[in-house]
């Protein structure tokens, strides 16, 4: 019995060892990433934030629960009027070139980033304290500082980005290849991976991680690879340069979004009738409407219709397919739309990456993009009805015609671990810094 017990114990130990051997993070190894999208330009500073956290960090960040938590700033406080903010920087943080993080060397990057949006900002530094001063109230500064554009970094030789993130730039061929190496002195501890090699457009299926862009649905996924799909984090929509309510309303009614989702997006997206997806706003279902060709034809029957150019992003086959489908639907209603990659069309098909789990912030960003920032004043994150109303007004003037929400889709090699957990940290970015791989 004792022998049997010892045998069981031994077997259990072996099994547990094997089990933990596959789940316990391992240090070392290189992760290869193959990206196809033009949105990943591999510029560490201009990546829509999808890569930069691994290289350059912000003062604060949004955690998986949507709350703001410290990053390079350990603590902060602000005056009652929200015009003056004081941040205490995390100690013992150094840049990739060994220079310690101080308020003095963090201030220029922060000031340059904030100046792009706020002309009245000043940043003063003293020791480990940064003081950010505005002439107007800035209650949302923390949310602003979660954006990668406000990451703290400086430029080194050959224009290389030198940040404080877990990985440093080892090699960089703009637009083609970015090699990252683990930063041994990272304040949060050395990352698991020794290196991350990211390339664009090579079409390699041997990479550990590759994205599957829409428009390439028949890409061959190697055996054993796992397909991971994020929550919808990108909105495909039409933007009208000149609001012409009746015509745009007719166009909106003529577009059948279901085939776009089912066929072009291969059922991986969601039909979009509002700006924010249902998971983000909670009220998107209220905007749903079925296509109505008869009504569309009736609306334009009295109009003198111009030929409309629809500009879609060049080198984006999915955008082109959507634009052509829109043109086809529009033609059924009697509206002539010519898809083109030439800029300046009266309609533009845009891919709007959702950047925040905060619906109010996302809507504010979009309103700012549309030049309607004044409407953002009425938004109250605590009152969803204000968001709904703002979105409804935006949709009613038909300057934005939502088409489809798309998720990000990645192919993952079996040796890649901790993907789900890593992505939960920030659902809008490709988080590679916490992955580890089998050797």
């Amino acid at each position: 019995m004792r022998l049997r017990a010892w045998a069981w114990l031994a077997l259990s130990s072996i099994w547990l060892t094997a089990l933990t051997g596959t789940t316990r993070p391992r240090y070392g190894g290189a992760l290869t990433v193959e990206l196809s999208s033009a949105s990943f330009m591999l510029d560490p500073v201009n990546t829509h934030g999808r890569l930069s956290p691994a290289i350059a960090e912000t003062l604060v960040r949004v955690n998986a629960r949507g709350a703001i938590e410290p990053r390079l700033a350990l603590a902060w406080q602000h005056e009652p009027d929200n015009k003056r903010w004081r941040f205490s920087l995390r100690p013992k943080v150094s840049f990739h070139d060994g220079e310690p993080l101080t308020a003095v060397n963090a201030a220029p990057a922060l000031l340059a980033a904030l100046k792009k949006k706020y002309g009245d900002v000043t940043v003063t530094a003293g020791g480990q304290t940064l003081v950010v001063q505005f002439e107007h109230p800035m209650p949302d500064l923390l949310a602003e500082l979660t954006h990668p554009e406000t990451a703290i970094f400086h430029k080194g030789d050959a224009n290389a980005v030198i940040g404080t993130g877990p990985f440093r730039v080892a090699a960089w061929e703009p637009g083609r290849r970015l090699a990252l190496a683990a930063f041994e002195d990272y304040w949060g501890g050395r990352p698991f991976l020794d290196s991350i090699i990211i390339s664009v457009g090579a079409g390699s299926v041997r990479a550990d991680v590759f994205d599957i862009p829409f428009g390439a649905t028949r890409r061959v996924v190697p055996e054993g690879f796992h397909i991971w799909t994020s929550a919808p984090n990108e909105l495909i929509a039409l933007l009208a340069a000149n609001p012409q309510s009746t015509l745009l309303q007719a166009l909106s009614l003529a577009i059948d979004r279901t085939p776009i989702v089912n066929v072009l997006a291969q059922r991986r997206g969601e039909a979009a009738f509002g700006i924010l997806p249902q998971w983000l706003s909670g009220y998107a279902f209220l905007f749903q409407a079925a296509p109505d060709l008869a009504r569309a034809r009736q609306l334009i029957s009295q109009l003198r219709l111009p030929s409309i150019n629809l500009t879609y992003p060049a080198n984006d086959s999915f955008a082109r397919a959507v634009a052509e489908r829109v043109a086809l639907n529009a033609r059924d209603a009697g509206i002539t739309i010519q898809p083109t990659t030439n800029p300046g069309g009266s309609l533009t098909l845009v891919r709007w990456p959702l950047d925040s789990a905060n619906a109010a912030e996302e809507l504010t960003r979009l309103l700012g993009f549309l030049g309607a920032s004044d409407r953002a004043a009425s938004l109250d994150p605590a009152k969803p009805e204000t968001l709904y109303e703002a979105e409804r007004v935006l949709l009613d003037d038909h300057r934005v015609i939502p088409l489809v929400y798309l998720p990000a889709i990645y192919g993952l090699a079996p040796r890649v671990h901790n993907w789900e957990a890593a992505q939960k940290l920030d659902p809008f970015r490709l988080n590679l810094e916490n992955l580890w791989v089998d050797q």
Binding site: R218, P259, N262, V263, L264, Q266, R267, A321, E324, A327
Partner: protein, 580 residues
């Protein structure tokens, strides 16, 4: 027109017409040859087009067959038949298959005609191609032309349809290749020829050229009645070949454009050559006319010069005889004629001289006879008085001597007149105001015209205010005018109207003035007019016949002319014309 000009025109016209005829004939022959060649080339091109059309059609059919038999399509058909497939995943299948088979068009459609996948217009998935559902044996149909709607407009396709069984229904595979400019460009090149496909029959002409209008007419004609048709314009020949679809509907027109530029160039060359030939003809005519002139017209011109000399009074002029031809004979005859004229003139002068002497003698006799008769009577009276009554002789002597003296004065006057006429001096020219002179002369005769002892004569002066002064001898001219006025007064014994008129004559190359003296007397007969200026001729009872002769002599000395016009009963008008 001179003989030289006639020769020039004749030769030039002959050469130019000959060149024109030759050029026209050559041009016509070349045009016919070109048009024949054009027709042959056009026919060859059309034949090549049809051949390539058939070859491509067969190729399309073969490729669509290959697609229909491919694993992907067979699997799709099986799954469709089993109704267990989401056709969305085949959305881009047609594009891959079309690329493999180099087809421009490929659509996979389900049993209900709904497009599962479209290579030419991927966005059209889910739309129905109802024409595929027509009851057609697609295998037997082979290839055909089809108008395909694309995102960027309609296109023409050389299509084939195949079907694959899919459960109870069919999977339709419609594939094809574009019939477009690239297709036409693949045909063997034909220099000078262009081909194009006209699909949009209502498209406005690209330009307002004659060729565009010709093409528009041709398209319209073929649209109304599809058939092969050609039209020829000034610079292009267009041939239209209708391209019909499966249902014989006109889908497009193959337009073969045959440039006539080469022909136009050749015609231009021929015209240029003709112009050069014509110009050479003109030069030849000019040269030949000059040569002919030296051979023919020069003797004739010399003879004409001799004629002018003779006409000008040079009776010694004689033509030079250089040849024995017609011109030489003419010169000889001219010389003989001139000699005869000289002889006749001499004879006439002799005769006139004799007649003048006779007339002079007659006049002298007449003039002298009148005073001599009283002289004779007076002398005889003296002789009789001496013999018969010596006591009265002294009284008779006194009377007779006074008579004798009077008659002798008369004789002296007569002799003086003749002497004056013989001694007409040369005029001393100076500027003369003729209007003033005419007024002065007329005034001289006022008393005579208004005399109580004779019927009254009215005087009318019509003087040109713009009369220039003339260069003349005022005394001689005044004398001539006086003579004319005196004659006019003599012509109106019963009274009448004397009209004196001056006039500036501007219609002549050299400015002239005219002086007219008109009476309203009995007038003159034509015979009298003809002899009026002959010396010693008079129509009056007591005239010497020298008055008008003196007038003519004065006018002649002033390089002028004097004429008379008159009709019996209507008066007479003497007109003097002098150079201003």
């Amino acid at each position: 027109m001179s003989f030289r000009t006639k020769v020039f025109l004749s030769i030039t016209t002959t050469v130019v017409i000959s060149v024109w005829i030759v050029a026209s004939v050559v041009s016509t022959l070349v045009t016919n040859s070109f048009e024949r060649q054009d027709m042959q080339r056009t026919a060859a091109l059309i034949s090549q087009f049809r051949s390539e059309f058939d070859r491509r059609g067969a190729e399309v059919a073969r490729r669509v067959d290959a697609i229909a038999n491919s694993d992907d399509v067979q699997r799709l058909a099986v799954n469709l038949g089993a109704s267990k497939i989401d056709t969305a995943q085949f959305y881009d299948t047609a594009q891959a298959l079309a690329r493999e088979q180099s087809l421009n068009f490929l659509e996979l459609a389900g049993p209900d005609g709904s497009i599962i996948s479209s290579a030419e217009w991927p966005a059209r998935f889910g739309y129905k191609e109802s024409w595929l559902l027509q009851p057609v044996d697609w295998k037997a149909q082979g290839f055909f032309l089809q108008r395909e709607e694309l995102a960027d407009g309609p296109a023409l396709g050389l299509m084939t349809v195949r079907t694959v069984s899919a459960g109870d229904g069919l999977l339709y595979i419609a594939g094809g290749q574009r019939l477009d400019k690239a297709f036409l460009d693949s045909l063997p090149p034909a220099p000078g020829m262009n081909t194009r496909l006209v699909r949009d029959f209502d498209a406005p002409a690209p330009s307002d050229t004659p060729a565009s209008k010709l093409a528009a007419d041709l398209i319209q004609d073929v649209r109304e009645r599809p058939r092969e048709l050609s039209l020829t314009g000034s610079d292009v020949t267009l041939t239209a070949i209708p391209l019909l679809g499966r249902d014989n509907k006109l889908l497009a027109i193959l337009m073969v454009e045959n440039s006539r530029a080469e022909l136009a160039n050749l015609k231009t060359y021929i015209q240029g050559t003709a112009w050069i030939g014509g110009s050479a003809g003109v030069l030849l005519g000019l040269g030949f006319s000059l040569w002919a002139a030296s051979r023919v017209t020069r003797p004739v011109l010399a003879l004409a010069s001799n004629v002018r000399d003779v006409a000008g009074g040079n009776w010694d002029s004689r033509a030079r005889i250089d040849s024995t031809d017609e011109v030489g004979q003419l010169a000889q005859d001219f010389n003989r004629m001139t000699e005869q004229l000289v002889e006749q003139r001499d004879r006439m002068i002799q005769a006139e001289r004799v007649a003048a002497w006779r007339e002079l003698a007659r006049r002298l006799a007449h003039e002298l006879k009148n005073p001599l008769f009283p002289l004779q009577i007076t002398v005889e009276n003296l002789q009789r008085a001496r013999q018969a009554s010596p006591q009265q002789f002294d009284e008779v002597f006194r009377e007779s001597t006074s008579t004798l003296l009077a008659e002798l004065d008369n004789l002296k006057t007569i002799v003086g007149r003749f002497s004056d006429f013989a001694r007409m001096p040369a005029p001393h020219l100076e500027p003369v105001d003729l209007n003033q002179m005419v007024q002065d002369v007329a005034k001289l005769f006022d008393a005579q015209m208004e005399g109580l002892d004779r019927p009254r004569i009215a005087k009318i002066l019509q003087l040109d205010d713009n009369l220039p002064s003339v260069s003349a001898d005022p005394e001689q001219l005044r004398r001539a005018l006086r003579n004319l006025v005196l004659n006019a007064l003599d012509a109106m014994p019963k009274g009448g109207t004397l009209t004196l008129r001056t006039q500036r004559l501007d219609g002549t190359p050299d400015p002239k003035i005219a002086i007219e003296v008109s009476d309203s007397g009995e007038g003159l007969t034509p015979e009298e007019c003809a002899r009026l200026f002959t010396p010693y001729y008079t129509t009056k009872q007591h005239g010497t016949g020298l008055g008008l002769a003196i007038v003519q002599s004065v006018v002649s000395d002033h390089k002028g002319t004097i004429t008379v016009r008159s009709e019996p009963g209507k008066g007479a008008t003497f007109r003097i014309e002098l150079k201003a």
